[in-house]
């Protein structure tokens, strides 16, 4: 299991035990975490799973995937250096304890 903390725009924290190998978007959907829509199912085509990786976790989550920059341009909320599409962040032991912040708007 890999622990992930989702912090909503209003500050609400949800801590989830995720399956290793899953991604941050799917884990949110499977655990009823509000604030992530993930409408395209992880195909990097909708930008509705936008999240901000907590500063303490940016090194461990690595750089954006090819094509992610372009799709982030389509995000509904402000894009920051810490912005990622959560469908592209895979949960491995290296990110056990990961904290992500959710934007106010996804659509």
């Amino acid at each position: 299991m890999v622990k992930v903390t989702y912090i909503a725009a209003d500050g609400t924290e949800t801590i989830v035990d995720a399956r290793e190998g899953d991604n941050v978007m799917q884990t949110a959907l499977d655990n009823d975490v509000d604030g992530i829509v993930g409408e395209c199912g992880g195909a990097m085509m909708c930008a509705t799973c936008h999240c901000y990786v907590d500063e303490d976790w940016r090194d461990q989550t690595g750089a954006r995937q090819a094509g992610e920059d372009d799709m982030l341009e389509c995000a509904a909320d402000e894009v920051k250096p810490s912005s990622r599409l959560s469908c592209q962040i895979r949960l491995t032991h290296a990110v056990d304890g990961l904290v992500v912040h959710l934007p106010r708007d996804q659509v």
């Binding site: 409408e39 395209c40 199912g41 195909a43 085509m45 909708c46 930008a47 389509c74």
Partner: protein, 391 residues
């Protein structure tokens, strides 16, 4: 495993009239079923439609034997997979972002909506479908695409003719003669505008594509424009008409939507309830299995999003328009690589501008005879008239 059962009763005519009772029965009794009258395997459960859309390596969009190719005179991105699809899609996607809409277009869209609404008089009974839903969608799309000079009538006719041609599974030559003429007109119009957009780069889709550093071929720029015309008028038009109908026939919900300013939720529920694009087809690339049935390679499966959106596994009271749902995980915009490129635009134009502006302008409008509203469509669905008394 057995092959899917075969249904020989249901035909396109029935599905066009009212597919929902049929889908409801299919979800209950035969969620995976070969429908002889349509020559497709229907998938009516949300988990199955989503699985197919999210697994493009097994369920391909690249089906060369559809009428779309002659209707659009192009192999369009709708019928491509993988990197080729992504490249053509991303060539225009930046014109459809929330940011571009907010900074470049939102005020123009408000002005367009106001302009068309100001032509209507309080006290009159008018067909909003014909007077507002279609023309406002067309006018807005002219701006998004950079098709300056095209009239509402042209845009609506091109859109309808492309759609009719793409659905011409009977391969009627007359329908392709009509799409040929529409293609000639569109090609000429695009051609006349390319010089202008090169000289005056702007945020429209055509400008973005012709001014790109590494542009896609002209043939695919034209194909993308036609896909956007085919997909950018009837769908917002039908979504808008459906939502107005839903709100006017549920006045207590309309009241609450107003109170909470929940137009976005009213929009989501409208496209869930009657998805403007009801279904999609995918070609099966390898022998596989869905819901306990063998699905052979070469079969074409039809994902019925319209039915997935009312699936009892996900939605309580799914047959009715119910704005205030805890969750609304509908598939009206599809899923996977072909997730609707215009989803953000639709939410912002129809949901945030067109619908609230209409209800603000005519706060007491009513639908005197809901029975007079006729609904039609199998592949694409919505009301075809909406006689509303304005007040």
């Amino acid at each position: 495993m057995p092959l899917a059962p075969v249904n020989t009763d249901v035909g396109i005519e029935q599905l066009t009239r009212d597919p929902y009772p049929i889908y409801r029965q299919m979800r209950r009794d035969t969620p995976v079923v070969r429908v002889e009258g349509v020559k497709r395997t229907f998938l009516t459960k949300a988990a199955h439609t989503r699985h197919v859309k999210d697994t493009p390596e097994l369920f391909s969009s690249n089906d060369p034997n559809t009428p779309m190719q002659p209707a659009f005179r192009a192999h369009t991105l709708m019928r491509k997979d993988g990197t080729e699809h992504r490249r053509e899609r991303m060539a225009m996607q930046m014109a459809y972002t929330p940011k571009v809409i907010k900074t470049n277009w939102a005020q123009i869209y408000r002005d367009i909506t106001d302009d068309y609404l100001s032509r209507l008089k309080k006290g009159d009974t008018v067909d909003l479908f014909r007077e507002i839903c279609g023309p406002v969608s067309a006018r807005i799309l002219v701006h998004i695409l950079g098709l300056d000079g095209a009239t509402d009538e042209q845009m609506m006719r091109w859109s309808q003719e492309l759609i009719d041609g793409a659905g011409n599974f009977g391969w009627d030559p007359e329908l392709f003669r009509i799409t040929d003429r529409a293609n000639d007109e569109m090609d000429a119009h695009f051609g006349r505008l390319i010089g202008y957009h090169k000289a005056n780069p702007n945020a429209s889709a055509l400008s973005l594509m012709v001014n790109a550093e590494d542009p896609i071929p002209d043939s695919q720029i034209y194909a993308n424009m036609k896909i956007a015309i085919g997909g950018g008028i009837n769908e917002p038009r039908d979504a808008m008409a459906t939502i107005i109908y839903g709100l006017l026939t549920n006045p207590e919900q309309l009241e609450e939507v107003r109170r909470q300013d929940a137009w976005g939720m009213a929009f989501e529920e409208g496209v869930r309830w009657v998805a403007p694009i009801q279904l999609s087809s995918r070609l099966v690339l390898e022998d596989t299995e869905i819901g306990g049935f063998d699905i052979p390679k070469g079969d074409t499966v039809m994902t019925i999003q319209a039915s997935a959106n009312r699936d009892e596994d996900l939605f309580e009271d799914g047959e009715n328009y119910v704005v205030f749902r805890d969750k609304n995980p509908h598939q009206a915009f599809g899923s996977g690589p072909h997730h609707c490129a215009g989803a953000h635009i639709a939410r912002r134009t129809v949901g945030e501008i067109m619908i609230p502006t209409l209800f603000e302008r005519f706060p007491n409008m009513s639908l005197p005879d809901p029975e007079a509203v006729r609904w039609r469509g199998f592949g694409f669905r919505g009301p075809v008239n909406l006689p509303v008394t304005l007040n």
